[in-house]
């Protein structure tokens, strides 16, 4: 099952994840001005939110991995070495 997490300190309250999610995984906490995960189980693992999040503060685990044939493989190998 896909699990979604928001790094709370990184959330800037832009609501982009709330808007772009096709399955309404997120809700917006008005008093705190932060997005929250409403229902992680609904996530289909499209990763739109994680790409759009300006602070890169949304992480997914246990999502089905498809081979990214269009990725820059040369850099993907280097990525592991980034401190």
């Amino acid at each position: 099952m896909v699990h979604v997490e928001i790094n709370e300190s990184g959330c800037r309250g832009c609501r982009m994840c709330v808007d772009i999610c096709p399955t309404e995984v997120f809700e917006f906490d008005e008093p705190a001005r932060k997005a929250r995960v409403r229902e992680s189980e609904d996530c289909i693992g499209c990763l739109s939110c994680s790409y759009l999040c300006p602070s890169k503060s949304i992480t997914h685990s246990d999502f089905p991995v498809v081979k990214n044939f269009y990725r820059d493989l040369q850099f993907c190998r280097k990525k592991e070495a980034f401190l």
């Binding site: 990184g10 800037r12 300006p54 602070s55 890169k56 269009y70 980034f82 401190l83």
Partner: protein, 311 residues
């Protein structure tokens, strides 16, 4: 005890030297590091001209001349593991922005027809001449680890050095600069792009919402966001986020335009066009790296020509 310490060599290629200063910026924490590390060669601290055998090597700066190339090779041979330290070493950095012009144009501007000083001729025999292009060091020697940042914030340096000393696997954190900026990303009615010198930004509101082109959302956080926190739009000095580097269909200007269009009344094409007009600033730090330089969407010479035609 001295023999158990990790032996460290550092060297300084085509760069400003800020990265070496950032190591000293560890302040008192450098004492913790020195408990484990024996600094052997370090251009700002020791008078060691040679390259003694070492466990860890830190290389800052890009490769622009024969000396840089020679030093990088010597460092690789003398060090068991080598860290590309700072944006210049990882992506080419500011010296890499020179790729927007030819070597002749650069020499002409700097020495023959410099508008701000008395001009002369380019230096000749005494120093190595410029190579044709700027090269990030990993295209010349094998690099084990990368630490981007201009310079990397001492917090990240300390973590990285301790991870190496303790032998734990270094963690790639890929949050963007926005994660440490304190501004609220609210939607606004802004309908024009503001130049950096125009107006005084609202201190609590996201710079994108106010029409300033801020690269925080497309830049790897290796700085803890000092610029946007203090009202200066991010210029992307730690290089692009992992998404932009790994995915050929994502680009600095399109990613910024996407988010800015959601926060303002500006249309995406307007933002993209404006960013192309000032592309030399937005792409300066990483254009020498193949990950950006060889993107099919990256057309710096065309954008510069368009601006020059319109003048």
């Amino acid at each position: 005890m001295e023999n158990n310490k990790v032996r460290l060599n550092t060297d300084w290629l085509s760069a400003c030297g800020g990265c070496h200063c950032a190591i000293v910026d560890l302040h008192e924490k450098i004492l913790d590091v020195l408990g484990y590390v024996q600094i052997q060669r370090c251009p700002v601290l020791t008078d060691q001209k040679d390259y003694p055998p070492a466990d860890v090597g830190i290389l800052t700066g890009a490769i622009r001349n024969e000396h840089d190339r020679h030093a990088a090779e010597k460092m690789r041979k003398s060090c068991k593991s080598l860290i590309a330290f700072g944006t210049c070493a990882v992506y080419g950095g500011i010296p890499g922005a020179a790729l927007a012009h030819t070597r002749e144009e650069l020499l002409d501007r700097a020495y023959r027809n410099n508008p701000t000083t008395e001009t002369s001729v380019p230096p000749g025999e005494m120093i190595d001449s410029l190579e044709k292009i700027v090269t990030p060091i990993d295209e010349v020697v094998d690099v084990d680890l990368y630490l981007a940042g201009c310079p990397p914030h001492p917090t990240f340096i300390f973590d990285a050095l301790l991870a190496l000393i303790e032998g734990r696997a270094p963690k790639a954190q890929d949050q963007a600069v926005c994660a440490h900026c304190q501004r609220n990303m609210d939607r606004c009615d802004t309908d024009r792009i503001q130049s950096y010198h125009e107006g005084i930004p609202d201190p609590s509101l996201c710079l994108l919402s106010q029409g300033y082109v801020c690269l925080g959302s497309v830049t790897l956080d290796r700085c803890l966001a000092p610029c946007p926190k203090n009202g200066v739009p991010c210029t992307g000095c730690a290089g692009p986020t992992m998404e932009i580097l790994t995915e050929p269909n994502r680009d600095i200007r399109t990613e910024v335009a996407d988010r800015m269009a959601r926060l303002t009344r500006l249309e995406q094409p307007v933002i993209i066009k404006a960013m192309e007009r000032s592309a030399k600033s937005h792409y300066s730090y990483a254009m020498a790296s193949r990950m950006i330089g060889e993107k099919s969407t990256f057309l710096i010479r065309k954008w510069i020509a368009e601006v020059e035609e319109s003048l």
